[in-house]
């Protein structure tokens, strides 16, 4: 039962009083890395355990099938921090967002050395580059989207919203022309369209309880997955939904409802943009022109605890992380496009997200 509780602890803990950030930088020896800058590479962002300061970064070479764990601390001599949330590649820098440490590290993706550091956040979630001198950072429990300069590492402004500090939050960001679309996930029900020229919200759309993830497909259609919240939540609960949205009109074009009690998450899109993937009792796959949700997972979870999902943009292989029990180190399972398990490798604790180099 603690397993189930752990699943929601990261979310629910943030509903409690604001806790002091936990950033345990311990000095340790530095190692030299220098991975092939031309090859593929996959970063695995291991959240670690909330308040344990044991977030970590793993690096996997899909060609050599070699994994290096704890590359951040080994390269930099200090720990990544508490609850690594996401990582984004932009302008040759990997931006690692460490949620409960309130920091974003910019690292060299070949040496893993820190080259930038942006601070001043309370609970950052995602980083998105707008231009070489401008990026957005979303936060949970903050109605604002931070505007930062990734060169000077300073906050230069905010995109304000009509949410409040008690429950306002923004999450993932998807680019569409001059716009950024962000989902308001925790205890929210909308997506927002932000004009990156004026740094202002220009449209808002109610999509359902807790839009959890978003992707853009090959037809420039936005797909949003809501998780529906959780039962007994003050905010309410509803069955999750998968929605297709026209990013121009900002209208819902198609809506698929999952059965009550479904736990769908981690919406991902194939490299070609014509197939959607997500986690729901396994890995589910659906064509973007399908007329109904798949009736069963494409890859069964078989005793694992699937937690993160990504698709290799080069060959379409499917990578799924297994959090095991949310306590011990996790693993990553690599599947072929056909769903055949190819191999597994061990990574850090709670591998929640991925980033291709």
């Amino acid at each position: 039962m603690k397993i189930l509780r752990s699943l929601l602890t990261a979310v629910l803990a943030m509903t409690l009083a604001v806790l002091p950030s936990c950033m345990k930088y311990g000095p340790s020896e530095e190692e030299e890395f220098n991975v092939d800058p031309s090859g593929e590479g996959l970063f695995i962002i291991n959240e670690g355990n909330y308040m344990y300061g044991n977030a970590s970064l793993s690096y996997y070479d899909p060609v050599t099938k070699h994994v290096e764990n704890e590359v951040f601390v080994r390269s930099n001599g200090f720990k990544l921090g508490d609850v690594a949330q996401s990582m984004t590649m932009a302008d040759g820098i990997g931006w690692v967002v460490v949620n409960n440490s309130g920091v974003i590290f910019g690292i060299d993706p070949t040496t893993f050395k820190e080259v930038r550091r942006i601070t001043g956040f309370t609970s950052p979630r995602y980083f998105r580059m707008i231009s070489p001198t401008k990026a957005y950072v979303t936060q949970i429990w903050d109605p604002r989207v931070f505007v930062v300069n990734p060169v000077t590492c300073e906050t230069t402004g905010y995109v304000t919203t009509d949410m409040d500090y008690d429950s306002g939050s923004t999450e993932m960001m998807v680019s569409y022309g001059r716009y950024i679309i962000t989902n308001c996930w925790s205890f929210q029900n909308r997506i927002l369209k932000i004009d990156t020229g004026s740094d202002s919200v220009v449209k808002s759309l109610v999509v359902g309880i807790q839009p959890e993830s978003m992707v853009m497909d090959c037809n420039d259609k936005l797909w949003v997955l809501t998780d529906g919240g959780f039962k007994d939540s003050d905010y309410g609960y509803e069955a999750p939904k998968l929605l297709r949205i026209d990013p121009d009109t900002f209208r819902i074009e198609q809506s698929f409802s999952f059965p009550d009690g479904t736990h769908a998450s981690r919406l991902t899109v194939s490299a070609e943009g014509d197939e959607l993937f997500w986690l729901d009792n396994g890995v589910c796959k659906m064509s973007t022109d399908a007329t109904h949700l798949p009736v069963r997972p494409f890859i069964s979870r078989e005793g694992t605890l699937f937690y993160g999902l990504t698709i290799n943009p080069v060959n379409g292989e499917i990578y799924v992380s297994d959090a095991v029990d949310y306590v011990q180190s996790g693993t990553v399972l690599r599947y072929s496009q056909d769903g055949e398990l190819l191999d597994t490798f061990n990574v850090g604790i709670n591998p929640g997200s991925f980033c291709w180099r």
């Binding site: 039962m1 629910l12 007994d232």
Partner: protein, 484 residues
């Protein structure tokens, strides 16, 4: 000349196109078949024996071949599927349509349901006057053992007569009898209440140490065998594993321990029994480590019991001694607490329970999170079973006040799956235990020189709202002596 040639070629092409015009129009559009199901979710539900008709709308299906298949077997070649099933289960059926221009397929799910049996009736506990969970006992020479009937229905004015080898030893209003193991041998013991007689066997075994198995250089710190895995019903029971026999259940635990993955003991009383390839010595320090999911905010405390192989048969059929913890002697702790669980009459139902204090309740079916049909262990063949042990007072409460955030503060020390500053030592995932904390039936030190078996048992009968029952989770047990 060149101009003439150009006109000629153009005219020829025009005529050629004109001649084929009608033919082009009549060609079938080379499109692969399209299938649109008559149910937008593709999920169909029928009752056992009921006929399901699926009538998709098709396009581009001239001269098409239709194939409805299930588990690789074609069950129909008609455009419309008519399906019936005599079993309550879920099946996946694929419709494939093939023409010369391609093949298209889609999959549907059919939930075949049994008639709703309605809620289970209130369980009726046994009305036996007394209960003897065990009728044969093994005890080492020189020790004493407590014999007693449990869960006596009415005891006012009762008196109990105990005999050993035909000799009356006690006639008392107290039902308990202390058997002194003074001489090796097998003894027939009887207890009589009015016209009820229960016969027990007590085997007095050789003195402690006779069957001691010292550790060697090749001894393993980890358990070498799981002797029994009997969880209480729970949301993690039968989930992601199928065990239809006790042997399969213990094999599952061994596999999980090998991977240092959790095994849920389910609700109150659920337990597992582990052994080692050697005896674990009592050093007066921490000798046993038990790995679990430790959370500062959410304890799911399990009590630990130890046993010597007193009769030397290699099986845990001897005398259990509880390792005292911080709350063993607390007024709120209930010893010999027993919960009886009742098999639900249909899949997807809560498991009802009654206890020996007159209480009752349910292990909730968590349809949103754990979808397996049964929370009642598949390998338990009886329709009801009773688990008995020490129950601690539950600490769990909803911190949020709105049902969202449940916590369960820990106990001071001495339990599995219990975050504390005393017995975790320098570990983040392990509680440690001292054999010197083993106590006898009267709470006095058992003074065991070593032990051979360890039992971990969920000591909480509690539920936390939407999180469901509190269930001890165990990931491994090891001889801490060998890891120092």
């Amino acid at each position: 000349m060149g101009r003439f040639n150009s006109i000629f070629i153009a005219l020829t092409l025009f005529l050629a196109v004109s001649c084929n015009w009608n033919e082009v129009i009549e060609e079938v559009t080379p499109m692969p078949p399209e299938i649109t199901l008559d149910n937008s979710s593709a999920v169909y539900s029928i009752m056992v024996g009921e006929m399901l008709t699926v009538s998709p709308v098709y396009r581009y299906v001239e001269d098409a071949a239709f194939a409805w298949s299930c588990d690789g077997e074609v069950i129909s070649s008609e455009p419309v599927l008519r399906y019936t099933d005599s079993l309550a289960h879920t099946v996946f059926i694929t419709i494939s349509v093939t023409t010369e221009y391609g093949s298209t397929s889609d999959e549907i799910r059919v939930d075949v349901k049994a008639p709703d049996p309605g809620p289970d009736p209130e369980p009726e506990p046994d009305d036996d006057f007394w209960v003897f969970p065990q009728t044969e006992f093994n005890v080492s020479l020189g020790r004493s053992i407590l014999l007693k009937p449990y869960d006596i229905k009415e005891s006012d004015g009762a008196h109990y007569i105990w005999t050993v080898a035909g000799v009356q030893m006690q006639d008392s209003a107290e039902p308990e009898f202390v058997f002194e193991a003074k001489q090796e041998g097998s003894y027939v013991v009887t207890v009589t209440h009015v016209n009820l007689v229960q016969t027990l066997t007590v085997n007095v075994c050789p003195a402690e140490g006779t069957f001691y198995r010292p550790a060697s250089a090749s001894s393993a710190a980890t358990v070498n065998r799981i002797y029994e895995f009997t969880p209480a019903p729970g949301q993690y029971v039968n989930e992601d594993y199928t065990a239809n026999t006790p042997e399969e259940a213990t094999a599952y635990v061994m596999q999980r321990f090998g991977e240092v993955k959790y095994v849920s003991l389910g609700g109150f009383g659920g337990y597992l029994i582990a052994g080692f390839d050697h005896s674990i010595d009592n050093t007066g320090e921490y000798e046993i480590g038990i790995v679990s999911h430790l959370s500062e905010e959410y304890t799911e405390a399990g009590a630990v019991w130890v046993m010597q192989d007193e009769n030397g048969d290699g099986l845990p059929n001897d005398t259990w001694y509880e390792l005292k913890g911080s709350d063993t002697f607390a007024a709120t702790t209930v010893h010999d607490y027993a919960v009886t669980y009742y098999r639900p009459s249909a899949p997807g139902m809560a498991v009802q329970w009654t206890d020996n204090l007159g209480g009752s309740g349910k292990v909730s079916y968590m349809a949103s999170y754990h979808h397996q049909d049964w929370y009642y262990p598949l390998w338990i063949t009886a329709d009801r079973y009773t688990l008995r042990g020490t129950r601690l007072e539950a600490h769990n409460y909803d911190r949020s006040g709105n049902g969202a955030y449940w916590v369960n503060p820990p106990y001071a020390w001495g339990y599995v799956d219990n975050f504390n500053e005393v017995d975790m030592l320098d570990s983040k995932d392990t509680n440690h235990f001292k054999i010197s904390n083993a106590v006898r039936y009267d709470g006095s030190p058992a003074n065991l020189e070593y032990i051979d078996f360890v039992k971990v048992q969920n000591a909480l009968n509690a539920s936390s709202g939407w999180l469901g029952e509190v269930s001890t989770e165990v990931c491994g047990i090891f001889d801490h002596n060998l890891q120092k």
